[in-house]
């Protein structure tokens, strides 16, 4: 699943292939976790699953296309507000709101992306950070719609219904299964995108944009497409988040969210699906786990980031890859790290 194709590696037939058992075990853990874990841990896992959605989007930009965008938080906030407003004013249900949030995020991403994509590197980063700041200013100042700092609250818990039969995820455990299904679906969609020839073109753009251009790849179109798709993932995450947490406020545009998404992707391993999934659980778990020492929590979190960077400068993806290779009975010679 790593974008960098593996070297041709020969698997040793004598060793047992552990991949299938590992996948099955992970699936069992994912499905069974809420049965054994306390509500609080389940809540943390829901948050991790929710953050996985915008993180996928960010990964598409950072890990695949090579654009460090901070605007994910803006689309996350946009999706959240859109869903919340629809839920409050139109009384529409969660699936409708989520689709609307995705659509809106994608649509808004076009006029934002067109000017932003003229920029490269740090200029692009700053421009996208600007979107978040402006998003925050709008949510704070457009009081007639967003209620400013008071935020929107009491948003319905996510309800999915089919022909008269409906089900509401009213507690963390139920929300977990809903989030799990959505996150799995999103991961699948993401996987299709990056595995497609277009995904390969995105990687080419990341590696060398001018070279990609010279090989006929309309890099501008692809970068815009990636930006829009990423925005869609961001919007989806925001929608799920707001229905779960039931509050929307301008604080959603705070740096905390941007930073969390960034850390999940960069720490997990940009350009790797498994790395990012791992990252979202790890960093949410870390942030929650450190609550045992409130005064030291953020210091410890900061230190963990430093250790992470020194120990795993490329994130966890290469490490996971090694485990996967080992499980498959593959002995890889050259270090591709």
């Amino acid at each position: 699943m790593n974008n960098t194709p593996l070297s041709t590696t020969a698997s040793d037939p004598k060793r047992r292939n552990l991949r299938a058992p590992i996948v099955i075990a992970l699936a069992v853990v994912a499905l069974g976790a809420p049965m054994v874990l306390g509500t609080y841990a389940v809540h943390a896992m829901v948050i991790a699953l929710i953050f996985l959605l915008p993180a996928h989007g960010l990964n598409l930009l950072v890990g695949y296309t090579g654009m460090l965008s901070l605007a994910q938080a803006a689309f996350f906030g946009l999706g959240a507000y859109a869903s919340a407003l629809m839920s409050i004013h139109l009384g529409t249900s969660f699936p409708v709101n989520m689709l609307a949030a995705i659509a809106l995020a994608c649509v808004i991403a076009v006029p934002l992306g067109i000017p932003a994509l003229r920029l490269r590197d740090t200029s692009f980063v700053m421009c996208t950070l600007g979107f978040v700041i402006i998003g925050q200013a709008i949510s704070k100042n457009w009081i007639s719609v967003t209620r400013g700092d008071m935020g929107l609250n009491n948003i319905d818990k996510p309800t999915v219904g089919l022909a008269g039969y409906s089900w509401t995820a009213s507690n963390p455990v139920e929300a977990y299964y809903l989030a799990l299904v959505l996150a799995a679906f999103a991961t699948w969609v993401f996987w299709l995108v990056v595995r497609s020839p277009a995904g390969r073109n995105l990687v080419a753009i990341r590696e060398n944009e001018t070279l990609a251009e010279s090989l006929g790849i309309p890099t501008w179109n692809y970068r815009l497409a990636a930006f829009v798709i990423a925005a869609g993932f961001g919007g989806a995450g925001g929608s799920l988040y707001v229905h779960y947490i039931s509050v929307a406020s301008p604080l959603m545009f705070q740096t905390l969210y941007t930073t969390t998404m960034l850390i999940i992707v960069l720490g997990g391993g940009a350009g790797s699906i498994t790395g990012v999934i791992f990252g979202s659980f790890l960093f949410v778990a870390l942030s929650e786990g450190l609550r045992i020492a409130p005064e030291l929590r953020m210091i410890a979190y900061g230190l963990s980031l430093l250790i992470l960077v020194f120990r795993f400068p490329q994130g966890f993806a290469p490490f996971l890859m090694r485990i996967w290779d080992w499980a498959g009975g593959v002995d890889k010679k050259e270090g591709s790290a």
Binding site: T4, P5, V193, S196, R200, T210, S214, L215, I217, P218
Partner: protein, 258 residues
């Protein structure tokens, strides 16, 4: 200039200045169908800039570029490559560093195999088959350029010459009409140079690809090109068969070093 037929590429009055330097000064150039044209000249004479201006990487100050009779002067680099099927390599070796050789080549072929940007998002059977086809072609080229043993190594970790070969092989992935090579032989070992020459000839003869080649290795120019153009200080100094050009006194002074 030439008898009735339309040239593959016809460039008129191309000029590009950077500040006080006129890198390319009113240069005309045409390449006939099936021709292998050499472009030589001293360092800094404007050859690479000429490439940049004719392929959309840089915008010329004036002049026109037409490909098979249609004007492509203001087309972008990617459009010239994709729609014009006119490809170029860079003097400075560039590859997709973290990808292996095979992926490098597959990418080079993709935009010519899929009809649109949208269609590249598909992962259906058809799309997979297209990619399979590209992979097969890539493997052939890898063998041809002697990159077999390193086919699955990250391109950025290869030697200078090996990277140069990837660039060359990339040009052959699509089915191009014109290939512009900026010093393809630089840093390639002499044995492989022969192989590259053979490959160029083959592509020229069997696939009908025309070539415009910048090269400082005069032997290569003499053995490959039917015609050569010499640039000096941005201007066309002379033009003719390689033998004629080499015999030219000015060329000897400016370029070959007496």
């Amino acid at each position: 200039m030439t008898s009735g037929k339309v040239s593959v590429l016809d460039i008129k009055g191309l000029t590009k200045t950077y500040g006080a330097v006129t890198a390319v000064d009113n240069v005309d150039l045409h390449i006939d169908h099936g021709e292998i044209l050499g472009l030589i000249g001293p360092n800094g004479s404007g050859k690479s800039t000429f490439f940049d201006c004719s392929t959309g990487l840089a915008t010329p100050d004036s002049g026109s570029v037409s490909l098979e009779g249609s004007d492509i002067t203001n087309w972008s680099l990617n459009r010239i490559a994709r729609e014009g099927r006119m490809l170029r390599s860079f003097q400075k070796t560039v590859v997709f560093k973290k990808l292996d050789v095979e992926e490098n080549l597959v990418i080079a072929g993709q935009m010519f195999t899929f009809p649109s940007v949208l269609s590249t998002f598909s992962v259906g059977k058809r799309s997979r088959m297209r990619i399979e086809g590209l992979r097969k072609h890539a493997r052939e080229l890898i063998e041809l350029t002697g990159l077999g043993p390193v086919a699955h190594m990250a391109a950025g970790n290869l030697s200078g010459g090996q990277q140069k070969l990837i660039q060359f092989a990339s040009m052959l992935m699509p089915d191009p009409r014109l290939i512009m090579l900026d010093e393809p032989m630089a840093g390639i070992n002499p044995k492989l140079v022969e192989r590259v020459i053979d490959t160029i000839r083959y592509a020229n003869r069997e696939m009908g690809v025309s070539f415009l080649i910048i090269e400082h290795n005069i032997d290569v120019v003499t053995s490959l090109c039917s015609r050569a153009i010499v640039l000096d200080q941005g201007r066309k100094l002379c033009e003719g068969t390689p033998a004629e050009v080499i015999a030219n006194k000015q060329v000897r002074e400016a370029y070959l070093g007496g």
